[in-house]
Assembly symmetry: C2
Homo-oligomer: 109 residues x 2
């Protein structure tokens, strides 16, 4: 019976990960490994197979852009940055997140 614990957290992450990505990229450009590190530092574990498709989705929606940059330590990296549209979406998600936190608060009462 593998950790229902992790399963609970995994389910809760749904729909919030997009928000996390925008939060991170709103502060600075980053490539996938940077993002995974930052998420890990915030206790929000994510694996490559989750992150890459997510970045591509957000890029296709016009929320992100990217540029290639050479690396001295391996293949070139895709550095992602947030667009104006992405910032608008982030504002929307900030509001949605706040509302949800308040909803749970209300229910806990």
């Amino acid at each position: 019976m593998e950790s229902t614990n992790e399963n609970v957290r995994s389910q809760m992450r749904k729909g919030v990960l997009e928000y996390c990505i925008l939060c991170i990229l709103s502060k600075r450009e980053a490539y996938a490994s940077n993002i995974i590190e930052e998420l890990k530092a915030a206790n929000m574990i994510v694996v490559e197979g989750t992150l890459y498709p997510l970045l591509i989705r957000q890029k296709n929606q016009g929320l992100l852009t990217y540029r290639w940059e050479e690396s001295t330590q391996g293949p070139p990296r895709k550095y992602y940055g947030i667009t104006e549209k992405g910032r608008a979406q982030l504002a929307e998600m900030d509001a949605a997140w706040q509302e949800m936190v308040e909803s749970i608060d209300t229910l806990k009462r």
Copy 2:
């Protein structure tokens, strides 16, 4: 292009709804309409087609039980209540929720 607004909220609800149900039922027994009312009062809109399958899932997992009760205003109602296992799961989810709130806080910094 229909309200991306609602879509954002809908995605964020994923995985949190189960938590909400357990919160509500940890305080008192309730049948579906009660639960929907309470969710609506907390600004967390949910429709029947979402709630019923969810209650059935949680019952099958042993987190909930139910009993039929006659009504003076229509067909009998299924009153759901939380089980011991459900309370354990709720505690797990409380922790997971707290962690996620902290994670987002960290990322916002």
